[in-house]
Symmetry: C2
Subunit: 146 residues, 2 copies
Amino acid sequence: MGIGDVAVRAGVSVPTVRYYEERGLLSSVRDGGNRRRYPRSVLRRLAFVAAAQRVGLSLEEIAASLAGLPEGRTPTRADWTRLSRDWRPRVEARIAELERLRDDLNGCIGCGCLSLRRCALYNPGDGARSEGPGARWVREARRPVP
Amino acid sequence: MGIGDVAVRAGVSVPTVRYYEERGLLSSVRDGGNRRRYPRSVLRRLAFVAAAQRVGLSLEEIAASLAGLPEGRTPTRADWTRLSRDWRPRVEARIAELERLRDDLNGCIGCGCLSLRRCALYNPGDGARSEGPGARWVREARRPVP
DNA sequence: GCTTGAGCTCAAGGTGACTTGAGCTGGTGA
DNA sequence: TCACCAGCTCAAGTCACCTTGAGCTCAAGC
């Protein structure tokens, strides 16, 4: 497929596809006129990238994850199955984290957050506050992942 | 409290506290030596900011959310209760989204993603792919409010 | 009274994830 | 043949979210 087709079908811009390739998330071969040609499997890679971003992974981590896929040949069912399986714990972890947050909020509704020391929101159980500055939830997704 | 205390206790850097104030997430009064002084309730605001970031909100949205809190007085139980309540649907939505993704991944493990057309990961049900380029999961978290 | 260190302001720098623009090329239909 | 459009490269710009640095002030401890 040409880069234009890929972009349209994956719902991203053409420069984004090039950018992803530059970042090592995708690879292509060139045709006679030096244009990029992608295998159809690039669409699944892009779907995976989009999904991974939704969970909060950085492109670098996504690239690392995708590096598990075969270089030369088109990924097989087994390749994707493995990737999906490796990946599920991260999603589960994110869900668990958010459920904790939701429960904390429920707790806040009950307690009105009058007690600084006891409030779950104020004193989250995950120790995020001690991990230094920054967009913590993203960072966390990235470490153990984001 | 002084800015240094606030930073340490909230687990962010001093410049970050100033930055947040500049962005309207926090407010302070100055003492004789022009130094910022914060009420204790700033800690809860910062906890809220951290939590909101974990759900994917931008600082601007968080500021908007926090704008619901009283200007002059220390927020009461009722103020925080209202905020928590307004906020829960967003967390729930994020959870639902991730659960959908998790189920899609489970589907992929089963199907091995052999069918491009039927694969849930490849053809997510939420229409995110048509929303244009970008960090979609974040954008989504920001749009409808989730 | 002098140093030390927390704070202040303002400007610039950095990162991640892209987008935009300029200038060039190559294949295709009229 | 010619126009045109898709692509190409490389450089720069953008946006959010901070961090770093320079140069200055103030107040508290020795």
